[in-house]
Amino acid sequence: MPLNIDVQQILLHLFNLVLLFGILYILLYKPVHDFMDKREEEYRKRDRDTKDALSDAEKLKGEYESKLAEAEKETALERARTSAAAEAEREKIISDAHNRASSIVEDARDKAQKEHDRLIARAQTEIADYVAMAAEKIVMKDEGLHDDFDSFFEKVQDTDRNSDNG
């Protein structure tokens, strides 16, 4: 053939090439490629695991934040409830204190009234005694009787008026 082309030699080269392909594929290409793939897969897995862990952590963080918010809400509610109860208790105590104060004042007023009445009664008794004594003295002396009697009655009336106002 022209250019010394020889089919047998082409086939010999082809045999050699196919042989070399098998050798290189089995001994070099596939093991190295597999190792690289395995390493890449390992790194991908690590990356995936890290992302999963991160996502779990984010989820957990969200849950904790939500629980925290709920707890804060409950605490605020409880605080409001306690505050309302305390306010009611305070109101009650104040009201009781007012009631007691009113009762004390009322008692005091009653006592004062009674004392007043008692003093008035006593004063009246004493006055009557004084009047009787004075009348006795006047009757016994018998001078200016008419004027003294009038002034006596005026004094008695003034005394009554003053005690009513007081």
Binding site: H13, L20, I23
Partner: protein, 278 residues
């Protein structure tokens, strides 16, 4: 003329004589003593005379021996790597592991980027082709001598500097592209691949021409004694390394590119297939 001047004259005269003598030796026409350059160049291209006996297949081009030698070297290397290096691979690679991972990663990346939809087989093939072209071309530098059928010795060339080796590589690559077309698009993939019927020829002859030109330039440089000093370091080593890398990249890149193109399923076909399924 005093003694000092006479001594200086004798030294200059001797140096001039030596230079002329060296010039006369270096400019000897090798064609008068050895094979003419035309015969050597023609034989480097066609291998009509310099053949080597290979097992029971009889005389073959020396590139066949080169091909099997390269495969043997790669096999031994791969075996050692598989047995001693790969089981000790770590997640944080050392230098050698990094080199191997880079080699596999580059070809795998080439397959993935050019044919993202189908690349498992393509990655393995371009890795093999790239390794074979690179190691085979670098093998030429060793200059391993083997006995030729004409009685002399011949230095083994690069496996792909032989037209048969280059045709084999071109046709095999084309077959891989065709297989991708069939796997991806069935009969339409075959038509897509056959549309580029000139591909195996262009791939074969590009490879053959590139590697052969390197070999011919090296032959030329070594043929004359005057160019046999210092220059071969650049021509042989640097040029060989350069075109080993370039050709490995070009062939693998073209294969991956065409493979991706013919095996890609077009949206219109997918829609039709989905409709048919419905």
């Amino acid at each position: 003329m005093d003694a000092k001047s006479r001594k200086r004259f004798i030294i200059i005269w001797a140096v001039i004589l030596l230079i002329i003598l060296i010039g006369a030796v270096l400019t000897t026409d090798p064609a008068q003593e050895e094979e003419p350059i035309r015969t050597i160049m023609k034989d480097a291209v066609l291998h009509e005379h310099s053949k080597v006996n290979f097992l029971w297949f009889g005389p073959v081009n020396p590139a066949v021996i080169s091909a099997y030698t390269v495969t043997f070297i790669i096999f031994i290397f791969a075996l050692f790597v598989r047995v001693f290096a790969i089981p000790r691979f770590k997640d944080q690679p050392g230098r050698f592991q990094l080199l191997l991972e880079q080699a596999v990663g580059i070809f795998d990346g080439l397959a993935v980027s050019n044919s993202p939809h189908r690349h498992a087989f393509l990655g393995a093939y371009v890795f093999t082709a790239g390794t074979y072209i690179f190691v085979g071309t670098m093998f030429e530098l060793l200059g391993v001598l083997v006995p030729a059928t004409n009685g002399g010795y011949i230095a083994l060339p690069a496996p792909l500097a032989d037209i048969n080796g280059a045709i084999c590589m071109g046709v095999f690559s084309y077959s891989v592209i065709l297989s991708g077309g069939i796997a991806g698009n069935g009969f339409k993939g075959v038509l897509n691949t056959l549309k580029d019927f000139s591909l195996p020829i262009s791939m074969s002859f590009r490879l053959f021409g590139a590697l052969l030109s390197g070999a011919l330039v090296t032959e030329l440089v070594y043929y004359y004694m005057t160019t046999s000093f210092i220059i071969p370091v650049f021509v042989a080593v640097m040029f060989t390394m350069l075109h080993a890398l370039i050709q490995a990249y070009v062939l693998t890149m073209l294969t991956a590119l065409f493979y991706g193109e013919v095996s890609e399923r077009h949206p219109a076909d997918q829609d039709t297939a989905a409709l048919n399924k419905v």
